[in-house]
Symmetry: none
Subunit: 225 residues, 2 copies
Amino acid sequence: MQFKVLLVDDEQDILDLLKYNLEKEGFVVETASNGRLAVQAFESFQPQLILMDVMMPEMDGMEACREIRDLPQGSNVIIAFLTARNEDYSQMAGFESGGDDYIAKPIKPRILVSKVKAWLKRWEQKADQAIAEVSTGGLVIDKEKYLVTNNGEVFNLPKKEFELLALLVSAPGRVFTREYILNAVWGNDVIVGDRTIDVHIRKLREKLGEELFKTIKGVGYKFEP
Amino acid sequence: MQFKVLLVDDEQDILDLLKYNLEKEGFVVETASNGRLAVQAFESFQPQLILMDVMMPEMDGMEACREIRDLPQGSNVIIAFLTARNEDYSQMAGFESGGDDYIAKPIKPRILVSKVKAWLKRWEQKADQAIAEVSTGGLVIDKEKYLVTNNGEVFNLPKKEFELLALLVSAPGRVFTREYILNAVWGNDVIVGDRTIDVHIRKLREKLGEELFKTIKGVGYKFEP
DNA sequence: AATCAGGGTTAAGGCAATATTAACGAAATT
DNA sequence: AATTTCGTTAATATTGCCTTAACCCTGATT
């Protein structure tokens, strides 16, 4: 697998140093010089790992971290902070905003590379788990093949229906608000009416069974086997 | 969800500017001109976020922050300070008194709005996690699944009933005034008659047990296992 | 005993939220 | 190019929650 790493720092020297060392190890590397650009780069580049400075102009690392986490694909990337020192507080704050780990400056190339490898190994494990196959009740969702099997019967759901189903099934019993569903399935920026969700729910109920999808008025929907 | 923001500053100009920009984004905004008023406003308005100047007459921001944190609901609000400059020390002091974050003056509307959105998103996550499951006596409230279990029996309460129950159970034994309940469950702006609360209490008593909800005449209600 | 204040109870109507259906444009498929 | 499929919306129906009005009950006050 070809791993992609996004480096974010406002000092060009550091970017160059890290980029050189990581590319030498076979990673694909892109860089961004502030938080706002990082968010953009994440969307287009879709890296598995982001190495980001905490302190930056325009938009700081914590802020960028939160924004990325809120994107549809943002929950799978690993975000690690470059901290200027052993500033305990900046570390804490970084984790609070959804960062996974940190590495202290000054950065030694060998340590960096070994940490990066460890992070990417972790990412692989997480990804395997997450995508492999979700199954609840008589329902099996194969994300790889984009197939849904319900008590032996195989369905070939369209994209939106599939994603909505996968979301609901990812946490059986849990109520997902309409707002949350819109963010997760359609994305933060897309504007669609509320009735769109209803219609997709209806199709799922039609195909898989009316009783599986429960409406919580004023709140949202949940899946229950 | 309708988010409420409380602005606290002694300069009317700043209040006006911030209020205008936040209301344009759909937030409900109230203002206070010093720390003492801020504490009062917090109690009646119950915002999710407080933006507060550090330096103010009467009672300064840090002092107000501490007082608010000591109130029953004070641990859930996010408090952010408006700092006059990059005065690192005032920032540190702000954190020590219980502040969550800060924003530096001069304030640019766009940055303000994006920060406010990020804070409120964080608040939502925290609120979801924190209150996910409350349990007292034989009663379990699962906010995630929107389910209430009483001694094994499962109930599927409508929204208002559920929220009223969750509020009362959040502090067993504590008396909630009618006014407070109206603010917390219905919102500050909604106008409903007093009998509405009675009816919802009645439904809860009916479903979960008469004895669990005690009336304090002339004051309000409390939950007691 | 009469009055009053505060709360309890019930049922019905209004209304907001959701369900349903059909239809349209865009994209994919043939 | 014709056909099919998908995603969305508009329009209409339906559901069930919320609220209220009207009346009852209790205990305190006069």
